[in-house]
Amino acid sequence: MSRKKEVAILGVGMHPWGKWGRDFTEYGMVAARAALADAGLAWTDVQYVAGADTIRNGYPGFIAGSTFAQKLGWNGTRISSSYAACASGAQALDSARAQILAGFCDVALVIGADTTPKGFFAPVGGERRSDPDWQRFHILGATNPVYFALFARRRMDLYGATAEDFAQVKVKNSRHGLHNPNARFRKENTVADVVNSPVVSDPLRLLDICATSDGGAAMIVTSVDYARRHVGNLDGVCRVAAVGTVTPRYPQNILELPDIASDSTAVVPAPARTYKDSIAWSAYEQAGIGPDDIDLAEVYDLSTALELDWYEHIGLCPEGDAEALLRSGATSIGGRIPVNASGGLASFGEAIPAQAISQCCELVWQLRGQAGPRQVEGARVGITANQGLFGHGSSVIITR
């Protein structure tokens, strides 16, 4: 009900995801121009640039707000640059939202883009023996898929999930992404494709695990008053109802990427909500709604099995029931609560600083009824969820 805590989304834009190895700013600029055009605004109307950083593209990547402000033409705007691993884009959105809600600006550009290396993500260079990210690779060879696999194996041993269940997530998402012009992979996969692909980190196979991609995404967010003046009314204007970005609570008793050990529950008992639960619930509480109010979700399917975990974390079903929810068809387009209508990371691959923004772009297109063949009919409320390294995560709720 408290509309004053909302900001409007007037424009969204993306550069398609792929693997070209070009300067990351090229992708970001395409996305920024597309978002400005979608909003019917010019760069000179923007008062604040919130950049989401990439750590694999040198100095310009660490100062994304400045990098894109200069690319678009120095304009005296204020800027911020956020790094929060996979949640960087949502942190940038939260920064822009706070500036707008505080009354410091009316129009902000939120932007993230990346160019990624081939293969496994590795820590940034140098022998940094006290860096947990360096330690997990050097001492254990604990790649990102190792952590994804630990969660997948628990689903199998505790809830009876099968390799075919995991494959069905990929099949669903590949079908969703088939007609998404921004998706990198537009090929419908079968269960056989997935279960016959090579095992990377047991039980996960190559097609269970998301790729690393190049891509860029941008949003133009404004105060609600500005949107009303610019558009003439607020009919059909999407709004950010919540941005949940919380750290874990001690003790973080679930072993998460990139940690080598969990926190201890010897003295302080584990919190009532696990960390990933708390990410979504912080957004629900902010928006004053619950899982029953959601029409669609974009969740972080770094692996097929992690998408199933997210069904439970965002409250679509009780713990252990995700496989049944998937099998029922509820999370496919046309079902009760479609998940990853965009095609998800399965169809995109991960372009880290752009990914959380791209989740929001998809929700906006869906809520406006502009999603074409992948449209979720009548969608009015959507949620995103993602998690990154070192206690970062985000959940954004968008309504119209």
């Binding site: 690779f137 628990r154 041993d157 980190s201 201890s264």
Partner: protein
């Protein structure tokens, strides 16, 4: 040749190089009693505790598998992979007394097909890799011997 190599831990201070009863070395808060692994000095991680110090503490040698996996491809550097690469398992093992889940490699020769959630494991040492001068030792989880618990002196 290996006899000329000096034996060094892959990382300093994380485990005791005891050939019979090695143990992980964590840290314990002298004020509230909570545990930390990997070991470190400095402040207690509990938000409700203001202790500015932690003390080294040996951890239980046995625990149960929280989850596990098996790497089928060589991880990128700074991991030092064997050539040709041989798949190896990793296990996250829950130590009951400390309330910690600790990720480690699984002893050479034991793969994912040999493991299950809840299985009892014990801490051992294994050679991670060698270079011209050193043999690097790493802690590993191994299926617990099917006999009464070793009465070591490291457990308190």
């Amino acid at each position: 040749m290996s006899e000329t190599l000096s034996r060094v831990p892959i990382i300093e201070g994380w485990f005791t190089d005891d050939p019979v009863t090695p143990s992980l070395v964590g840290a314990k808060c002298p004020a509230c009693g909570t545990y930390v692994f990997p070991p470190r000095s400095g402040d207690c991680p509990s938000p409700a505790c203001e202790s500015p110090t932690l003390e080294p503490a040996p951890l239980s040698r046995r625990g149960r598998i929280w989850s596990y996996t098996e790497n089928r491809y060589a991880p990128p550097p700074p991991y030092v992979a064997s050539d040709p690469f041989a798949p190896y398992a990793l296990a996250a093992v829950e130590l009951q007394a400390e309330g910690l889940v600790v990720l480690g490699k699984v002893v050479t020769g034991v793969l994912a097909a040999d493991l299950h959630v809840g299985m009892e494991m014990q801490l051992e040492l294994d050679v991670s890799h060698r270079d011209d001068e050193h043999e690097y030792v790493v802690y590993v989880w191994a299926p617990a011997a099917p006999k009464p618990k070793v009465t070591g002196t490291v457990e308190t």
